[in-house]
């Protein structure tokens, strides 16, 4: 179902934030190699980009839903 798919993606936003936090702390670890650091950085940037994409920037009007599950514009 489309809804389930969307829902799963939304959870990723929080997950992504958690992941970014984790790789930020890894970046400060001196035992992490430069190569790995580049990979971490790239992953972070990619995650942020995806986070941005996750946020729908279209302004929404409130919808009304009836008993049959049909939505209508709210006036």
């Amino acid at each position: 179902m489309i809804m389930a798919e969307e829902k799963r993606e939304e959870f990723q936003l929080e997950e992504a934030f958690g992941k970014i936090e984790a790789l930020l702390s890894k970046l400060t670890d001196r035992n992490v190699s430069l190569e790995e650091s580049f990979a971490l950085y790239q992953e972070g940037v990619k995650l942020l980009k995806r986070c941005n994409e996750q946020i729908d920037h279209v302004e929404k009007q409130m919808l009304l839903i009836d008993e049959e599950g049909q939505t209508h514009e709210f006036s």
Binding site: E6, E10, T28, N52, V58, K60, I65
Partner: protein, 404 residues
């Protein structure tokens, strides 16, 4: 006359004892209508409770007044909690009131307490069933009245925090007989439709107004709902069954909107911060590695054969230099010595002696003439002076005694 005669006091005391021992009479709820109500200056309140069938005298002592939260008025329907006992002086029984509540409210409250206990025992308020409210919801379902302050507040706050979320309202009846069913329907419709989180609630009102949120079917619908539900009923002080069973209780509809809708600017700010942190830390990392590289390079350089060779060459050059210096010094020394000798030699030069007026004489066979024994009269000799030599013949020889 009968054998056993009792005093009035004894009879009253006996009856009182019976009343006191009676479990039911000691703690009893009595409902009725207030009449003959008198607030005494002592703080005690005297009144009667009556219904169609009769009346009972009641007293609420000043010490129990905290059990009454309103002004008693004639004709009010109330429920009195108290104990029935005997007033010995008048020989009559009366109800000693501890708590008085208005009848409707009292009944509702009892119903509330009963349902709360029941659902609690079923584990429906248990934290283990509470679902987390999503971090970022895109679709927010709302079950409330389409008019009124609650939906307005929710829309305003949601729009302010994040205009990009989709609000979907199920316009529900939130008070009256059909309210509970309508709310249940709304929860089910929204769940089927698919939302990330649901706000179920209404604005403030009396306990009767809020009653739908204390109905068992509403509680069960919230509990069964797989989508996280935020309850938002009335004001902060109103707590309903729906609040206990919801995944999160918001004190007001506005607060519910704050809890459901992630602040868009804050989110962007957080992402910006992440971006800067990522870049900063990467730059630091690179800097650190660059420094490390420089260090390693230096270390490697020192360990390289070229460096060692250079070092040896330098040493060899130094040695050469020292050697040359030593040699030069030796030469100088010798030169100096030669000069000294030359000086001394000069002092011994025969030429110099000649210049001082001495002369050098040699025999004809070229030997230095130093004694009269080397020559005889008539023999030739050569006398050397500064500017030439003189050939001469010996005239005579005279030995001479010289001292010193």
């Amino acid at each position: 006359m009968a054998k056993n005669v009792y005093s009035v006091g004894q009879v009253n005391a006996y009856i009182k004892n019976i009343f006191i021992r009676d479990v039911v009479l000691n703690r009893i709820y009595v409902k009725g209508e207030i009449s003959n109500c008198k607030y005494h200056t002592s703080g005690h309140i005297y009144f009667s409770l009556k219904d169609e069938s009769g009346a009972i005298a009641c007293v609420m002592f000043a010490g129990n007044r905290k059990g009454l939260s309103f002004q008693l008025q004639e004709g009010q329907k109330v429920i009195v909690l108290g104990g029935v006992s005997v007033y010995e002086r008048d020989g009559r029984y009366q109800l000693y009131a501890k708590e008085i509540v208005l009848d409707g409210e009292g009944a509702l409250y009892q119903q509330f307490a009963k349902l709360k206990r029941k659902l609690e025992e079923m584990g429906m308020f248990s934290p283990q069933y509470k679902k987390d409210i999503p971090f970022y919801s895109r679709r927010i379902g709302i079950v409330t009245a389409p008019t009124g302050a609650a939906i307005r507040d929710i829309i305003n706050i949601a729009k302010r925090r994040n205009p990009y979320v989709q609000l979907i309202l199920y316009p529900a009846l939130v008070q009256g007989e059909q309210a509970a069913e309508s709310i249940v329907k709304g929860i089910q419709v929204l769940e089927r439709h698919g939302v990330d989180v649901m706000i179920v609630g209404r604005g403030g009102g009396s306990i009767e107004d809020l009653w739908a949120f204390n109905e068992e079917i509403v509680a069960k619908a919230i509990f069964a709902c797989k989508t996280p539900v935020i309850s938002a009923v009335g004001h902060e002080t109103d707590t309903t069954i729906a609040d206990y069973v919801a995944d999160l209780r918001a004190p007001t509809p506005s607060a519910a909107a704050e809890l459901a809708v992630a602040d868009y600017r804050q989110l962007l700010g957080g992402m910006e911060l992440f971006k800067n942190q990522l870049t900063d830390r990467m730059e630091q990392k690179i800097l650190w590695y660059r420094q490390r590289f420089q260090n390693q390079k230096l270390l490697l350089l020192h360990a390289s054969p070229r460096y060692k060779l250079n070092e040896k060459q330098q040493y060899a050059a130094d040695l050469t230099d020292k050697l040359r210096q030593g040699m030069l010094r030796k030469l100088e020394e010798r030169k100096h010595q030669v000069q000294l000798y030359a000086g001394r030699l000069e002092g011994c030069s025969p030429l110099k002696k000649l210049q001082q007026g001495y002369s050098y004489t040699e025999t004809k066979d070229g030997k230095a003439l130093q004694s009269i024994s080397q020559i005889q009269a008539g023999e030739q000799m050569t006398i050397h002076v500064t500017d030439g030599k003189i050939l001469a013949y010996v005239e005579a020889i005279e030995p001479l005694e010289r001292n010193g």
